[in-house]
């Protein structure tokens, strides 16, 4: 990582793992060990100093670590979804459109996109009356569920989840676990950071302890 004044902060090194279609890999380890950083490297938000991140799409394999910005934009539209910890709300955009946007961008009609967005929002228990409002003033848990719906709406082969259930109650945690199980059945490869033991037990096929890759700072 690169910080103020040109300082460099080593985070992780020598990380190696593979995820198959329909598999859920959970990255584990204490806070600050670099789990979210790994997700961001896969998504292309952080650059890697060394190594490769290979994503296979049919017969084509793309190295995110070496991809041009344009390729990364295309990867995000068509291959890799990411649910961050916090919703980055835009002024004035309604909840339903926040959720529908990723599939409108790839050519689904707005009407159809809104219909699918509404259905998914119902599954994560966002009340109908909130759909026409911008999510900026929603509670932390509501915003997180809007964010989850946005990330889960497109059917992408790879899904990255950063603490998707951190501020949810038991009912909503269960709803999200259901959605993850559904994605796995559809063949989505999932890489998740989850602290909640029950959720982890419910979704993980493989658990990787990231602390063994941590760089001595």
């Amino acid at each position: 990582m690169h910080m103020q004044g040109g300082a460099r902060l080593p985070v992780v090194s020598g990380v190696a793992f593979a995820v198959r279609p329909g598999e859920c890999v959970v990255l584990a380890g204490p806070s600050g060990v670099g789990k979210s950083s790994i997700l961001r490297m896969i998504y292309g938000s952080y650059r890697c100093d060394r190594g490769h991140i290979l994503v296979r799409n049919g017969d084509v394999t793309i190295d995110v670590a070496a991809a041009e910005p344009r390729q990364i934009i295309a990867l995000r539209r068509h291959l890799i979804g990411y649910v961050s910890q916090f919703l980055r709300a835009l002024p004035r955009v309604t909840t339903i459109d926040v959720v529908a946007e990723p599939i409108v961008t790839v050519g689904v009609s707005r009407e159809e996109a809104r219909r699918r967005a509404a259905e998914l929002l119902r599954r994560v228990n966002i009340p109908e009356r909130l759909l026409g409002l911008p999510p900026a003033t929603f509670s932390g848990g509501e915003q997180q569920r809007v964010n989850i719906a946005r990330g889960f709406l497109p059917d992408l082969p790879v899904l990255l989840l950063d603490e998707p259930t951190a501020s949810l109650d038991a009912v909503n945690r269960a709803a999200v676990v259901d959605l993850i199980a559904e994605k796995k059945r559809q063949g989505t490869a999932i890489i998740a950071v989850v602290h909640d033991d029950d959720v982890r037990a419910a979704i993980a096929d493989t658990i990787i302890d990231i602390s063994r890759f941590a760089s001595a700072a």
Binding site: H2, P69, V93
Partner: protein
Amino acid sequence: MKQIAHDQPLLVAEGLSKWYGRQIGCRDVSLALYEGEVLAVAGESGSGKTTLLQLLSGQLEPTAGRVLYRMRDGVTRELAALGQAERRFLFRTDWGYVHQDPVLGLRMAVSAGANVGERLMAVGWRHYGRIRGTASSWLDRVEIDRSRIDDAPITYSGGMRQRLQIARNLITQPRLVFMDEPTGGLDVSVQARLLDLVRGLVAELGLAVIVVTHDLAVARLLSHRIMVMKGGEAIETGLTDQVLDDPHEPYTQLLVSSILPP
């Protein structure tokens, strides 16, 4: 929303430099912009952003380097080699230029409808009713009440003027729009509305945009890619979230860490 149809860039800059006497405006900048792509050029005042924008849009002659543009017929041409008529065509039809100060981009004394309709007339529209109808629908799109169509922009607020300038630019369905600090000088709430509007139109129309801004929040909201300039040079480029979340250059780090939390 249009897909990114061509794998050829729309606009290419190669080794652009501009000296004002012995003063450097911009040094050795190269970039390629594709259809539907939004590029932010960020940096502080005096970093060469506006010089670069003027070079890219053919308003300034570079001291060295060249700008190439893929015309609507698919042929890529060098800007400096275009004739007057071809340049006029670009400026009136295929390009838009949104100034920071709407006064520079509008005719303040004529009606809003005439401001928006003017570019249509420039490309040969003659039917008054159709021009007015198209102008009205563009006022709707930029959220200006149709009842204000006969008022001159001198009677408009700053935010309305800026939205009118945007409508005036987009009415001919340009493929590339240059924006120079489009939200500079507006109140924060007015800024948010304008940004959201611009963001929606850009996505819907599949526009390529080069937006100059000193405001990294604007860059984050609007752009796919970012170029950070300092002292006339492009010091860091990449995906916007890459550069803003993990800036490599000390100067970019300083800019990013100077953002005040909301």
